[in-house]
């Protein structure tokens, strides 16, 4: 017994080192699905998010001009949509401003408080939380295209997993041929403005500068939101698929504003998705 205590005393630094190291490893590998990690030890907790919010409010003045331009373009687009909002019923009738017609998607504008784009697993923080009705698995779109999906919500802030994160996955459509593909961001090969599309059949006619858009299949985004345009195509003979590289529409290095997407029929849709 005495020898054991002497041994522990002799190697106490090493043992303490091992203890702390295993604590760090425990955090590292239990981090992805851990309640405590998401609620207290991530950058959306009140202290660090508050500091990052302060930083963003300091630096947001420097890019007001670009943000204004983006907002003006967005305004024009929205105005066009609201003015032309007609619902076609049958072949002849056009109804407008119908009270029975329920809106499928609602949008809420948010500021992006902190954005990462040069790390391996990037994350964003937005300044809306459970108080504003944000729930996990809501989509976030920007002024030009898709940004990401909400993963974690606290009272006033929420964390968003952007497209440029290896854990982000989405089924997307080729705009011209309606071919389905899988979106994938590979950190070793892509930087913050490119992304890969897999599983497009080899006979699909894809050209450069074609757009890829969201499919709307899981109800997270509306159908037809742009994701990116094709910059290179290569054929994968073994799998009989095309490997396509996209240039993302949204510039992830200068994200300032975004729009949260709320699907009014999400619960109803989830029943069908589960049923499959």
């Amino acid at each position: 017994m005495r020898n054991i205590i002497l041994l522990i005393q002799k190697y106490r630094n090493f043992l303490f080192f091992l203890f702390l190291e295993s604590t760090a490893l425990f955090f590292l590998f239990s981090a992805t699905n851990n309640y405590h990690h998401y609620h207290y030890l991530s950058s959306s907790n009140s202290l660090s998010a508050g500091l990052l919010n302060y930083q963003s409010s300091l630096f947001s003045y420097f890019s007001l001009r670009e943000v204004n331009n983006d907002l003006m373009i967005e305004n024009a687009y929205l105005k066009e949509k609201t003015l032309n909002k007609n619902l076609v019923v049958g072949k002849k009738f056009i109804k407008s401003n119908d009270t029975i017609y329920r809106k499928n998607f609602l949008f809420k504008e948010v500021n992006i408080v902190n954005s990462q784009f040069k790390f391996y697993k990037n994350n964003l923080i937005i300044n809306a939380g459970s108080q504003n009705g944000v729930v996990p698995k809501m989509g976030l779109i920007g002024t030009k295209g898709v940004i990401g999906i909400v993963t974690n919500v606290t009272k006033n802030y929420a964390t968003v997993r952007p497209v440029i994160n290896p854990n982000f996955g989405l089924k997307i459509l080729h705009q011209k041929t309606n071919a389905w593909g899988d979106l994938l961001w590979i950190p070793e090969k892509n930087n913050f403005n490119s992304v890969y599309v897999n599983n497009i059949p080899i006979y699909t006619k894809v050209h450069e500068n074609d757009f890829f858009v969201t499919s709307g299949a899981e109800g997270i985004y509306p159908k037809g939101v742009k994701i990116g345009r094709v910059i290179s195509i290569s054929k994968n003979i073994e799998d009989q698929t095309l490997d396509i590289e996209l240039k993302l529409e949204e510039n992830f290095s200068s994200l300032k504003i975004g729009f949260l997407v709320k699907n009014n029929f999400q619960e109803e849709l989830n029943k069908h998705l589960k049923f499959e």
Binding site: F27, F119, S253
Partner: protein
């Protein structure tokens, strides 16, 4: 003594500089290669009379705070603890035991530029290499990884040189 005012200021200052200045620098496409981590300087510069036990505790909290801000829980902590434990190995592989006094801080003015570059360079290179390896968790693209570590080591050395010339008063 590790709890003196100067040390606390360096502790907070390095974290703030790391998160709000270095991580906020945007170099466009090249940002992938520019993500130096300089918090290890706090551990490496401590006097030789500081016990390993104290250093390990400090390293744990330093790494944890940085991790919480950068959303990489446990990653910086792991590498920083490793660096803390291997600090004597790095130091005594480039210099003999009697060369450096026990109660001086290991900054550029006290140990000289050559020893500073060798000691901090080798340990920071090890830091970045281990960090990127664990982050990626595979040996793919090893050459790119080495290149990234090298570039980040050089840039962090430059940042540290700048910080020391600005904030440490010479006698």
């Amino acid at each position: 003594m590790i709890l003196e005012f100067k040390n606390i200021a360096w502790f907070l200052g390095l974290i703030i500089f790391q998160i709000f200045v270095i991580d906020a620098i945007d170099l466009g496409t090249y940002s992938y290669f520019f993500s130096p981590i300089i918090i290890a300087f706090f551990i490496l510069k401590q006097r030789l009379s500081t016990t390993v036990f104290q250093l390990l505790i400090i390293a744990f909290f330093l790494g944890m705070i940085t991790d919480i801000f950068r959303n990489t829980l446990g990653l910086n902590t792991f590498v920083l603890l490793m660096i803390t434990y291997l600090k004597p190995t790095f130091l005594y592989s480039i210099t003999s035991t009697e060369d450096i006094e026990k109660d001086v801080e290991l900054n550029i003015f006290n140990i000289g530029i050559l020893r500073f570059l060798l000691f901090f360079g080798s340990s920071l290179f090890f830091y970045h290499l281990l960090f990127f390896l664990i982050e990626q968790f595979s040996f793919q693209n090893l050459f790119t990884l080495l290149l990234r570590s090298l570039i980040n080591t050089i840039s962090s050395l430059m940042v540290l040189l700048f910080l020391q010339y600005v904030f440490i008063s010479r006698k």
